[in-house]
């Protein structure tokens, strides 16, 4: 087993990975940028190495610096987390070349599955259901038009190199196609440096269902059941749960088998996620494989009892899985809410800034994977995830109640968060009934505003705070903390 691992990431996921490493007796090396000098992942690591300026390109995305940090610190393996370089075949390849272990699939697999048209071809060849659509990227409008006709409107334009909704467009009629393709290609070029687009059938009100898979280097592959991630805003997941209220045992078995087939067909090793769309008729279609640890992996851990990060590390060290599909069982129900630094009353606009107060929820069945603390300045440069609140309970209703209570105990002052929004989503009838489709937020929560029926209480608290006399430090004193140097306080010295 490894003695030291470098975690090439930041925030809650770096902490999550480090926790398992430390439990395994593996030392952890953190890396950080200027903006993260006081970040929690730096404080909690056994060792921390400075990478460079705050821009991701100068720090967390700089492969050379990360390889050098691993070598300098004597780390034997690199865990990439999610985001940043986690699905970058280049980092995996460099590790292979430099004699470091990349905790993830081989570079070739990342590359193949990273190109959606190649991925579709692999799946088509191994009997995994794929949505009707084009086999390869295309730029000639006439061919795109013919393909759209063959597939049947509405069609979805997607970027071949894409992700996160960039370069995606829904086209309902042939008239709109030309403009939409042009816009999508230019957006894809800007986002991924690659303007390749393709078309596929657009499903109305699908659910996003994904299967966690684990594959070791000895040919053993299992899936760890499904996650439903249909509640999304701006193509980003907000609430995930497992089991899905829409997946029956038979469907689970079929989709699980497809996920394992997909992993086998692509030569997969390590943890990954096979994403499907599930339509109203119970038909499912392969979307893509995420070749990394997912943000929402904790809900799977909660119901299966399997530590996915531990399995990733064991697999990367060449160990066999040690269990089979029949050993994997789900117990109860788990839900995750992503706590972003954002303003749900204002189009989910980012809200970076200093956390002035933090009260984390706690109690039975509650896990808060958190990357912030009171006093931390949430940087403007990175992903807005502050933490992930995960609950487990015996069934879905209990899990919803537990999550609502946990959210109402969650206090983050200094920046905006979607806590009140999430409470309303969980309390809503369509959510409680499991009517969770990918258009859920657009359909039910467009233009959401927080209820104000308890505004009276805020008024009372304001006045009491005036009367009792706030002793909170004033903002303009902030700079002193943590910036004090010996020279400022030399009067205390005894020479």
């Amino acid at each position: 087993m490894f003695k030291k691992i470098l975690v090439a990431n930041r925030g809650e996921i770096a902490l999550r990975v480090m926790r398992t490493c430390q439990e395994m007796g593996i030392a952890c090396v953190a890396v950080y940028s200027d903006a993260d000098q006081k970040a929690l992942h730096v404080l909690r690591a056994d060792q921390a190495i400075y990478l460079g300026a705050s821009e991701p390109a100068a720090s967390y995305l700089d492969i050379d610096k990360i390889i050098a940090a691993a070598k300098d610190s004597g780390a034997e393996a690199i865990h990439p987390g999610y985001g940043f370089l986690s699905e970058n075949a280049g980092l995996a390849r460099r590790c292979e070349e430099e004699g470091l272990v990349f905790i993830g699939p081989p570079s070739r697999v990342i590359q193949n599955l990273g190109d959606k048209t190649v991925a579709r071809e692999i799946m088509r060849g191994s009997g995994v259901p794929i949505i009707s659509g084009m086999v390869r990227a295309e730029s000639v409008l006439q061919i795109l038009t013919e393909e759209a006709g063959r597939i049947g409107y509405p069609v979805l334009i997607k970027a071949a190199a894409g992700g996160g909704g960039k370069g995606m467009r829904v086209v309902h009629t042939e008239n709109e196609l030309a403009d939409a393709c042009r816009q999508a290609a230019s957006e894809a070029a800007a986002a991924f440096g690659n303007d390749a687009i393709y078309l596929e059938k657009y499903l109305k009100r699908p659910r996003h269902i994904e299967f966690q898979i684990l594959a070791d280097s000895h040919g053993n592959i299992v899936h760890l059941l499904e996650r439903e991630c249909s509640i999304q805003r701006r193509y980003q997941k907000v609430i995930e749960e497992t089991p899905s209220p829409a997946v029956t045992p038979d469907l689970r078995a079929a989709m699980g088998k497809s996920a394992v087939d997909a992993a086998r067909a692509s030569g997969y090793v390590n943890a990954g996620t096979v994403e499907f769309l599930l339509d109203a008729d119970g038909k499912y279609y392969f979307m893509e494989v995420n070749t990394r640890l997912q943000v929402e992996h904790p809900i799977t851990e909660m119901i299966t009892g399997i530590d996915i990060v531990r399995q990733q590390i064991r697999i990367a060290a060449g160990e066999p899985l040690g269990f089979t599909q029949s050993d994997v069982t789900g117990r109860g129900h788990a839900i995750e809410c992503r706590i972003y630094g954002e303003d749900p009353e204002n189009g989910f606009m980012p809200s970076p800034g200093k956390i002035t107060y933090l009260q984390e929820p706690s109690g039975p069945g509650i896990r808060n994977d958190c990357g912030i603390y009171a006093g931390f300045d949430v940087p403007v440069e990175y992903d807005p995830i502050l933490s992930k609140l995960i609950v487990w309970a015996a069934d879905r209703n209990q899990a919803i109640s537990r999550m609502k209570n946990a959210l109402s105990q969650y206090v983050i002052l200094g920046i905006k968060t979607p806590v009140a929004f999430l409470i309303d989503v969980l309390a809503s009838e369509p959510f409680q009934e499991g009517k969770t489709y990918t258009d859920f937020i657009a359909t039910h929560f467009e233009g959401w505003r927080q209820k104000t029926d308890e505004a009276d209480l805020a008024v009372l608290a304001y006045i009491i705070d005036e009367i009792a006399g706030s002793r909170r430090p004033k903002a303009h004193n902030k700079k002193i903390t943590g910036q004090a140097t010996p020279w400022q306080t030399i009067g205390n010295w005894r020479l």
């Binding site: 954002e342 303003d343 970076p352 440069e381 109402s408 002052l413 008024v459 608290a461």
Partner: protein, 171 residues
């Protein structure tokens, strides 16, 4: 004494009467509240609130901001502002609403500036792109005009209120 406050676009006029100890009577419009409070920490006030119909415990968490206090109760966050201060703010022009100015809606980093000084721009034309937490926002010209000043460079950190690009309006 009396307070005039604003929360969520609604104005509150509050009469407060102080009793012995940590016991207060409030009149919010025609609603009467009796409140016992305990200061738990600088940011946390616990209140026992009775309004004649029901009584219960309320935990309020508070932070100061330039425009008022942010108060979190039961998972919801309220911006509470004092009317008098609000008036001052408007007079002093601090943080006014600036629909005509090119300023970022949140703290951000400048990604690109597709115009240069002297460029003629049309209303709605992109003049600067900023990014916050991986979300890009394009700021556009509010009217037809000429770029006369650019106050930021690529990779600069910028904040709401800061004018990034100045445009002289066409007459």
């Amino acid at each position: 004494m009396e307070y005039r406050l604003r929360v969520a676009q609604k104005d509150f006029s509050v009469e407060v009467e102080v009793n012995e100890g940590l016991h207060l009577n409030f009149m919010l419009g025609d609603k009467k509240y009796v409140v016992d409070y305990t200061v738990i920490s600088d940011s946390y006030i616990h209140m026992k609130v009775e309004n004649g119909i029901r009584s219960g415990n309320v935990n309020a968490f508070l932070a100061d901001g330039p425009d008022g206090k942010t108060i979190v109760i039961n998972g919801r966050s309220y911006m509470v502002q004092d009317h008098d201060c609000l008036a001052q703010v408007v007079q002093k022009g601090r943080r006014p609403n600036l629909p005509d100015k090119i300023t970022p809606p949140m703290p951000a980093v400048v990604v690109s500036i597709p115009v240069t000084i002297g460029d003629r721009v049309k209303k709605g034309q992109a003049v600067i792109v900023v990014s916050a937490m991986k979300m890009e926002t394009t700021l556009c010209a509010p009217f037809d005009g000429t770029v006369v000043k650019i106050n930021a460079g690529v990779n600069d950190k910028v904040a709401p209120g800061q004018i990034l690009v100045e445009i002289e309006k066409d007459e």
